[in-house]
């Protein structure tokens, strides 16, 4: 499961019923959960539909880089685990679409927006998986970063989103552990295997740090999301937590974090060097290494499945007609 703070600018909110809006905020402040049929400000609904559907698209597109290695997994054990993991990502996407739909969006319109390239998904999936070690790094770091993002979302003010996240987080721990196990095996293997692990870490480290979104001073509407308790920690706070958790894990593997400026401060925090935010912007704008491939693969899968959806709908309709006729007899 993969979230990302994308922070696209919010349009100006309409004039809302001030009384209802203040009652709504009071419920949020009292840590009450908001449920689908409750009154909510239009901007809250819109923010959630955008965030939850982006999150869902990320899960679905996220199956592609890993699916790439299912047939080439080095053993049956690894293959079974990777298959189960990719199936989980699909499941996470579906829980999330269902949560977004409780806000009044239809599945078809959400999926169409993604296929049309109008909806965003996590930038991380626009990078290629060149070697088997990339599968290890994805589990360990990409899922690790996703867990950092998702644990606070289990307490998000919107009930259906929070409940979906609880389910997802329970399943996510396996993903990270299987990734770390792959890394550990490679790092204890031959010199070539260890070099492959280091190379994968070198390529993924910076894109993974970008998963937490732009730095706090550049982030436009974290304020509203924080006020509404959709977001509980800032991008930089989550990034720091992730780095502090990850550096010792890399040290245990005997790998080097590809950041010459990484140092530990007096409080024990690992401080990173500058992140290339231009690369992040480029990838989000559609110019990452795999953006076009990913969308093309999703469009092809959707088009190839069209006859199945049509046949299933036609069969359901035929059965329903027959039942009606039988009931009328």
């Amino acid at each position: 499961m993969y979230t990302q703070a994308l922070n696209s600018p919010e349009e100006g909110s309409l004039a809302e019923d001030a009384v209802r809006a203040s009652r709504f905020q009071a419920r949020i402040d009292a840590e009450e959960r908001i449920e689908p049929n409750d009154w909510m400000p239009a901007a809250y609904r819109k923010t959630l539909v955008r965030q939850i559907s982006q999150h869902a698209h990320s899960e679905i597109v996220g199956m592609l880089p890993e699916g790439n290695w299912i047939t080439r997994a080095p053993s049956l054990r690894r293959k079974a685990a990777l298959l189960a993991k990719v199936q989980d990502e699909c499941g996470h996407g579906l829980y999330l679409y269902a949560a977004a739909e409780t806000l009044g969006a239809s599945r078809e319109e959400l999926v169409d927006a993604m296929l049309a390239g109008k909806a965003k998904y996590s930038s991380i999936f626009n990078y290629p998986t060149l070697t088997w070690a990339d599968i290890g790094v994805i589990g360990w770091l990409v899922d690790g970063a996703a867990i950092m993002n998702q644990i606070p979302l289990c307490r998000c003010s919107y009930g259906p989103y929070a409940r979906a996240m609880i389910r997802v987080c329970k399943e996510e721990s396996f993903h990270q552990r299987q990734g770390y196990e792959i890394m550990l095996t490679l790092c204890r293997g031959t010199a070539e295997q260890k070099a492959m692990a280091q190379d994968a870490l070198n390529r993924w480290w910076w894109p993974v740090l970008m998963m937490f979104g732009p730095p706090d001073q550049a982030s436009q509407h974290s304020d509203t999301s924080t006020k509404w308790k959709i977001k509980r920690f800032s991008n930089d706070e989550l990034r720091q937590k992730f780095i502090d958790a990850t550096v010792p894990q890399a040290q245990y593997l005997g790998l080097t974090i590809p950041d010459p400026e990484m140092t530990q401060d007096e409080q024990g925090h690992w401080r990173h060097g500058p992140i290339d935010w231009n690369e992040f912007k480029q990838v989000l704008a559609g110019n990452g290494p795999c953006n076009r491939d990913r969308l093309a693969a999703r469009r092809k899968a959707h088009a190839d499945g069209a006859w199945v959806r049509e046949a299933a709908a036609a069969y359901a309709e035929k059965r329903a007609r027959r039942q009606m006729a039988q009931a009328a007899e």
Partner: protein
């Protein structure tokens, strides 16, 4: 996209014998058979259930949160419906 939107189903799972079916989420499927299969794949990948119900979401009638006070407030003021409202001397023992 000429196909009509696929119907929505609510999924209920009995996690152990002796427990009630509990709502766990929703999914889209063209008919009940496919809804059951999808529910199996989506909600019981780790042995979460022994039995599944799927119900068309359109068949559910829900109370309106705006009517919350009218619906549930009357019960709140009737504390005499709870056993602790009544006094039984300690000498009588557990009742």
């Amino acid at each position: 996209m000429a196909t009509p939107n696929t119907p929505l189903w609510e999924v209920f799972i009995r996690s152990r014998n002796g427990l009630a079916h509990k709502h766990c989420g929703s999914l889209h499927a063209p008919d009940a058979t496919m809804a059951l299969q999808a529910a199996r794949d989506l909600y019981t990948r780790r042995g979460e259930g022994l039995s599944i119900w799927v119900v068309p979401s359109s068949a559910i009638t829900a109370s309106d949160p705006a009517d919350k006070a009218m619906m549930f407030e009357p019960a709140e003021s009737k504390i005499y419906r709870h056993p602790t409202f009544y006094e039984v001397p300690e000498e009588v023992g557990h009742m």
